[in-house]
Symmetry: C2
Subunit: 544 residues, 2 copies
Amino acid sequence: MHGLMQDFPLLVHRVLDHAARWHGTRSILSRSVEGPLHRTDYASVNRRARALASACERRLAIGKGAIVATMAWNTWRHIEIWYGVMGLGAIVHTLNPRLFKEQLTYIVNHAEDRWIFTDLTFVPLLEELQDSIPDIKGYIILTDEAHMPDTALRNSICYETLIAGGDEEYTWPELDENTACGLCYTSGTTGHPKGVLYSHRSNVLHGLMCALGDAMALSSRDAAMPVVPMFHANAWSMAFSAPIAGASLVLPGPKLDGPSIYEMLDQGRVTISAAVPTVWLMLLNHLEKNGELRLPHLDRVVIGGSACPEAIMKAFVENYGSDVIHAWGMTEMSPIGSLGVISGEAAKLSQKEWWTLKLKQGRPPFMVDMKITDDAGNVLPHDGHTFGRLKVKGAAVARSYYKGEGLAAFDADGWFDTGDVATIDEYGYMQITDRAKDVIKSGGEWISSIDLENIALSCTGIQEAAAIGLPHPKWDERPLLVVVRKQEAVITKADVMRHLEGRVPKWWMPDDVAFVDEIPHTATGKISKMELRATFKSYRFPES
Amino acid sequence: MHGLMQDFPLLVHRVLDHAARWHGTRSILSRSVEGPLHRTDYASVNRRARALASACERRLAIGKGAIVATMAWNTWRHIEIWYGVMGLGAIVHTLNPRLFKEQLTYIVNHAEDRWIFTDLTFVPLLEELQDSIPDIKGYIILTDEAHMPDTALRNSICYETLIAGGDEEYTWPELDENTACGLCYTSGTTGHPKGVLYSHRSNVLHGLMCALGDAMALSSRDAAMPVVPMFHANAWSMAFSAPIAGASLVLPGPKLDGPSIYEMLDQGRVTISAAVPTVWLMLLNHLEKNGELRLPHLDRVVIGGSACPEAIMKAFVENYGSDVIHAWGMTEMSPIGSLGVISGEAAKLSQKEWWTLKLKQGRPPFMVDMKITDDAGNVLPHDGHTFGRLKVKGAAVARSYYKGEGLAAFDADGWFDTGDVATIDEYGYMQITDRAKDVIKSGGEWISSIDLENIALSCTGIQEAAAIGLPHPKWDERPLLVVVRKQEAVITKADVMRHLEGRVPKWWMPDDVAFVDEIPHTATGKISKMELRATFKSYRFPES
């Protein structure tokens, strides 16, 4: 027997409708790509999103199921495109302009994008790409007629002119809540990028989840600034969660440097903001240089994208009185998987224990579940030290990639294998300890390459360190520690080993230390273990 | 094209699973019906809910779609029954023991209940009823063997013995999220009570909605005490929202008097609690009598069920430092429709304006929408003074009553007519001004009977007042004010009219004042306008 409740599909444009009707005057402050700050509100953005939807249908023949790309910063216009295009039943494909040109070309063609909405910033890049993406019917440039560039782009259209011809009273079509509405590619270290296809339902549930008390705790008293780009996995949900909560939005546009971010925090009286560690480091440097600057409004700082250095987190808490929330997620998770908000049970801990938890990646909110398993799939305990492959499921977790690619990551039992290795402690705090492909498997036990590296880095004289597993006749794999010395440092294998002794379990001790001049890195600045393993392919451990 | 996200049905037992896995040691403190306080946690309650589900299936042959009634206070056992019975795919029908016996008999038979879970308190009542509810197969008494009563109930079963025979590792069946899981009857002033049939999806979405920042703002740092009974429309969602948020639960069992509620607030370090004004009045009286008592933990007080007197709200804010949240809803809305949390835009108001908003019934959270219309269905403005019929829709709003009754309340366009008349102001705050059937329709304009009564009550010498509309040849209806004088008060029609002048719009002035010894009331203590209109059926206004 079914319940007798109203049919209320979870559609993303209902989020904007709610904000427009019940929080219509809450502001949306943006740094425009043209330069000046721009202020609007939810009621206006809703009208313009509807106008855009009608213009897309009538003028560009964009209909249900069409795929439309954006290459744009976080501004009010990008918000309008999200809600307008998703609302008409089409799919917004956010392009990351930082990808290599070959990747962008591959992605646009693979996704079968038909139109690209682009900020002025990216017109030159798209001019270069346009011959390799011939199925694009035209380019909508996010500006007004006064700022339209002289461009070689085929069929370039002025965004403000397009929207001016639309109908602000446009009625959203009825849609099934499982209709696709967003597409974002994730680039692994191997193979082509793979697309994650979000649905209206998954985005709305993810937006609700992220607004909850142990996630971002958003309310209509907040001003939320996603510094994390909307092309970076849904801006960590803030573009959905803020209007759900009636929080105002502050959007930093193209400028992510310290002084610019400070200006937006100050002008927008931002209470919560989300960004990667690098952005926060730039802000903190700016604040330190200008000792009189404070962050009186900033209550919560969400940090994710990569593990956050302790110094950044402590600076916010101890120098500026802002709480920090370490978050973890993946494009495949929409992207939030866990947040390091201190739970009620953990609230009684000492300051030191509190920081230990804070530095972990946090706990899953309702509608995400996670487990750690060994290679055979056996569930491992939540004891804070056993580590295993991290697997997740949830209302906003992918069940396959676009066009059926990369199926190996999706278990038959409905769990997505994140490719990460993690521990989970008794309070439910998860900590990433390694990538599964980098963990060192010695005699059936796992050694965290990241832990080894971090402990090695605390040794005087070491500039950079990388731990890799190399074949071993008896133990399967044993760790090799690859080290770059600090300039003019004199440090030997014996020094390194002495430093590690007592700091890591005995059986984690590297079988050898190799000194090199340089460790190879990927395009995004991470250590390329793949390349390193290739370099040391013929290496043999000394006889012990 | 559909999104490629995991299938994650919104099922209520996922809520308990989440709490058990990630907030397993968060406590559930109850006053037991047997007497002593009882402490358990989410992990235990989850194991017992599963054991109960398996015992229901195996021993009582309760399967998917079966309807099982509860007549029980808020305790951990009632929580176990909710999650256990809903989780196995059956439906929990909460019976309100305060209804008339005839109504209870009607409801149990109409719902086709098959088993009743009952607290010890209600065994005598059910013994009286059992012959009139012959289809009940048996009664599960919520206690252990030591406390089992000597009862005439047919097939009475000890709850603790039942659960002891169940399997704590029971696996929940797979269910469609639209599966019915809860049934609650609402008794109007006319006709039989009508059933509202909740689904897993509607309960989970409602639970999420109520946990949001502008609703109850729940987190795992909270201890939530629903004083409002679980048989009173889902305990205003707290039994779902608290485990969603990881908040601990405090359950007051059978004792709702001031000292008992204070004890639970204190022992459970309750941070948020919800109840009707009467309960809060009893608590405040107890606190006033014991001047040294404080409420150091209580951060938020949710008040609903009927309009809350200003004195109660101010006492919490001004004397005890707790915020008050005026809430409004209906059984048909699961039940929350709006909450009087001060929004970001309204936060800049003066103290006086703030209180004006606080006394209103609040704003709808995301997933509820509301509008006010005139009799022809035209939407009326949000200006704070135009009032119209209040209509709602949302993810947890009924689309019909059980067995298709009372269809008139459900518009063809998907809005549920609440039967209330309300205003909505520029900030989105809704205020109930009348019941639609009591509003006085004069020359096409509406006069609020409640406003007239409240203003009349502020006149010295008036004990009670009721305004009703009576037929008028020219204006359709005109107001008659029916007044009970205070003992020994000497007050005339002219005195009353002088008091009203300038306090109400000119055309609201009653055409006559009738003095009576007594005003008729309903069983729940409200003025019976229906009876009053019958009394004055032959009354004619004086010629003006």
